[in-house]
Amino acid sequence: MNLEGSHTINAPRALVYASLIDPEVLQQCIPGCESLERTSPDTYAMTIRAGVGSIKGSFNGTVRMEDLREPEHYRLVIEGKGRTGFLKGSGDFDLIEEGETTVIKYSGEMQVGGMIASVGQRMVLSAARMMASQFFTALEKQTIERKR
C-alpha cells in the first residue's frame, strides 16, 4: 500500500534535514520507537512498538538511509519483524524551501505480513497515516527546539 503526503515545518531546510537524519531526533519522533542504534554509517538497529487495533507488538529491525542528497532528499528503508508479523517499507523524502519554512513531501510504500495483515489490514493505512502525522508533529517540535 502507498502512503503519500506533505508536511510544512516552520524551520529552515538545512535544520530540518539535519533533524531528519539525526538518530536521536528520529528516536524521539518515531511513534513507539524504543531504541535506535547505529550499526553502520547509514544503518540503524531499531526496536519499535507498533500495531493496529488490538494487534500490538514489538518489531525488531533495521532502518537504512539511502540516496542522501543534503539538504533536499533522502530515502528511508525500514524492515522489521516481530511476533505479530513483519513490516517492510521505504519512503522518499523531498525537502522544499518555501521562504522561512520547509515543505517535506513524502511518498512511500509499505508491506505488512502475518497477523497484522490478516486481522488488521483494513486499518493499516489509517494507522500508518496517523503515525506519519505524529512523526511530523514531533519532528517539528524537535526542530524548532533546536532552532532556539
Binding site: 508491506q111 497477523m115 490478516s118
Partner: protein, 799 residues
Amino acid sequence: MTYVGQRIKRTEDPRLIKGLAHYVDDIRLPDTLHVAFVRSVYAHARIKSIDASEAQKSPGVVAVYTGKDVAKVGPVPCASALPDLKVPDYRVLAQDKVLFVGHPIAAVVATDAYAARDAIDLVAVDYDDLPAVVDVEAAAKGGTIIHDGFGDNIAYKLTAGEGDIDAALAASDHVIKQRMVHQRLAPIAMEPRGVLARYFPGEEELTVWSSTQIPHLLRTQLALMIGIPENKLRVITPEVGGGFGSKLNVYAEEGLLGWISMQLGKPAKWIETRRENIQSTIHGRGQVGYVEIGCKKDGTLTGLRYNVFADLGAYHQLLTPAIPTLTGLMLSGAYKIPAIQINVTACFTNKMATDAYRGAGRPEATYVVERALDLVAAKLGMDAAEVRRKNFPAADEFPFHTATGLDYDSGNYEAALDKAQGIIDYAKLRKEQQEGREAGRLIGIGVSTYVEICALGPSAAMPAGGWESATVRIEPTGKVTVLTGASPHGQGQETSFAQIAADELGVDLNDVTVVHGDTGIVQYGIGTFGSRATAVGGTAVLIAIQKLKEKANKIAAHILKADASNLAFEGGRYSLQAARAAAVMGESEPVIPVGEAPAGALPEPQTEGRSSLTIQEIALAAHLAKELPPDIEPGLSATYFFEPKNFTFPFGTHICVVEIERETGEIKFLRYVAVDDCGKVINPLLVDGQLHGGIVQALGQALYEEVVYDDQGQLVTGTLMDYAIPRATQIPWMELDRTETPSPVNPLGVKGVGEAGTIGATPAIVGAIVDALAPFGVTHLDMPVKSERVWNIINKGEN
C-alpha cells in the same frame, strides 16, 4: 407405518441442541499434550534458519519439531490422477521454502494449549522473501516459478468435450463471449478441524480422532504417511460440525499429530483456530474463465467453449486437480448443446490449495452455463425462462447423452420449470417488473434451471472407489444395528438410514441405531461427499437388509416347518401364506415382545405351533442357534458393498426476485422459489434443510464471500470480521417445492441433494441482480456483487 417419505425429526438433534454431543475437542484423555503450529507469514520465501531454542525453554514445552525432524513423514497425499499432472512434494512441515501464508513450519508440543500457543511466538524463523505469484492468469504466463524444477507454474492442461466446437461456433448466428470470475471461498465449517492422536507403545496401536468426512480413506492415507501398519491404526470420527468438502481431505496436521504421539508416547491434540481455518483449510472455487456460447436466431444453442484458469494454490490436497475436471463434465447444463469444449489451465499460486467445497467444480459449471443462457436471452431479446425451455431435452429423451460425455439418468426439466413458474406466477411477475420499471423501481428476476452430478459414483470415475458399504445386524434382543461406511458430518444419516432400515425390516424406528465413523467398528467405507451418502450408502443399507432377510426367511421356514417360498414378509414378520390370509381376516397372532423377557434370562422364542415369526424373534433364534437349518450359520447380519453403475443427475428450477435500492445499492430479496428434483425423497425435512443451507451458501458467494490475497500473497480476509458469511437477516424466505423423477441407477430411486442449493442458486441470484440493472446496460457482474458496485452502476454510470 412407513417411515420413508415422512418428515421425521433428526434423532441426532437432541444431543446437539443440549450440548451433549462429542466433537474432537470434547474428548479428553489423561496426560494429553497440546500442539500449536508456527506458520509462514510470507506467501513465498526461502527459510534461512529456524531457531527454536527459546521456545524449547518456555514453560510447559515438551518438544519443538521442524521440517528436518519430519522429512520422512508424508507426503500429504493427492489422490487425483490426470495425464502429465505435476505433483509437488508436499511435506507435513515446510522444508527449505514456504509457499503460502499459513504454511506450517514448526510444531510446538506443550503440556497445555496455552503454553503451546505462547511458545510458537518464540520460534525465530529467518526468511528470505521471494516474489509471490498471486494472480492465476499471470501465473500461467510464467514469471516467478513456485516449484523449482517444474519449469513453469502450470500443474496441468486439459482439453475435453465432444463435437466440432470451431465449426459449431462458426455456424452460429451469434457467438457471445464473457469473462467470468469464480472467486475463492472459505468453507467455514462451524467446527474447525481438530485432531487427537493416542499411541500405545506396548500394543503398537495408534488411534486418531479427527473431524473428517472420510475416516477409512484417512486411515489408509495416514498409515502410508506415518508408516504404521493400517491394521494397527484406528481412525475415529466423532461428531463433525460441518465439512462442506473441507474435511474430505487428508491434512498435514493429521499425519503430524499421529507421528508426534508415537514419538512422545502420549496423546497429542490440536484444535484449529478460526484464523488457521481460513489460512490453511482448503478453499473452494478459484477459477477465472472465458465462455463463448453460440446460438441460432431462435435461441437454439449450437456450441459452448470454456477456457478456464484454475487457481490450485501452492500444493495439491487430496482432490485439488480434479475439481476443474468436474466443471468440464457439467458444461452442458440442462441443455442440448451439440458441441462443447473445455480447456483447463490449472496453475500453482502462492496460496492455500483449493479443493472440494460444496458443489466442487459443478457450481462453476452451472454458473457459466446459466449466465451464458442469460446472455443469449439478452442478446436475442428473449425471456430467460423461454430460452432455457427451448433447449431442454424432453422427458422421453433420457438417458440423455451430453457433449461432455455423460449420460444423464433421468429428468423432466420442463416440469420443474413449469412448477416454479406456476408458484411464482411468472407472467404476472414479469408484468409487475415492467410496471415497476416504469415507476422507477429496479426489480430483477433471475432464473436458473440447473442440473448437477451426484451420487459419486462408479469406481471407474473415482480416485479411491465409488462404492459404499453397509452392515446390518439384528442383535439377540431384536435391536437393529446399521454400520455405514458413509460417515456423516451433519446430513442426518442416523435418521434417514434408520428410516430405510426400519421400513425394510418392518421394525420400529427407535429399534434402529446407525453407527458410523469408527474404523475399529465399521467395515471399510468411502465417506460422505458429492451428495452420495443416500444414493450409494443408503442403497448399501437396503441391499444388506435384503441379504439378511434371505437368511431370516430360511430360518423362519425351518422353525415354522414350511417351505421358504411359502412365507411372506409383511409388517416385520414372516407368515405362512395361509396364516397371512387369516391375519388379513383379523386373527393376528400374539407376539411375545422380546424386550419384556425376565431379567437375566434370554427369552426363548416360543416357536411351537406358530404360523408366523417376527424378524426380531428370528434374530434371537439365530443367535441361540438351537433350531437352525443345517446349512445356516448362526447370527443374523449381512454386509453389502454397493457399486453404482452411473452417477445420478438431480435438477431443478430456482427463481429469484430482487429489488435494488437506488440510494444505497442494497439488494433486497422479494421472492425466492426453488423447485428441486432429487429423485425419491427419504425425509423431506432433511431435504429442505439441505436446500436451505445450500442456498444460503450460494447467496454468500453471490453477494458477500471472497477470500482475498493482496498482491504480495498476504491473506487479507483472515478473520470473520473480513470474510463475510451471510447472517440470518440477510437470508430470504425460501419457498421450496419438489418434483420427483426417480433415478433408475439405484433401487431407492434417490439422486442426492447435499449440493443442489449451492449449485442452483448463485446464477439465479446474480441473474436477478443483472436483470434489475438491465436498464443501465448491465449484462454481467462478477461475484460477489457488493452493494458498493451496484451503487456505482446506478449513481455513477460505472459499468
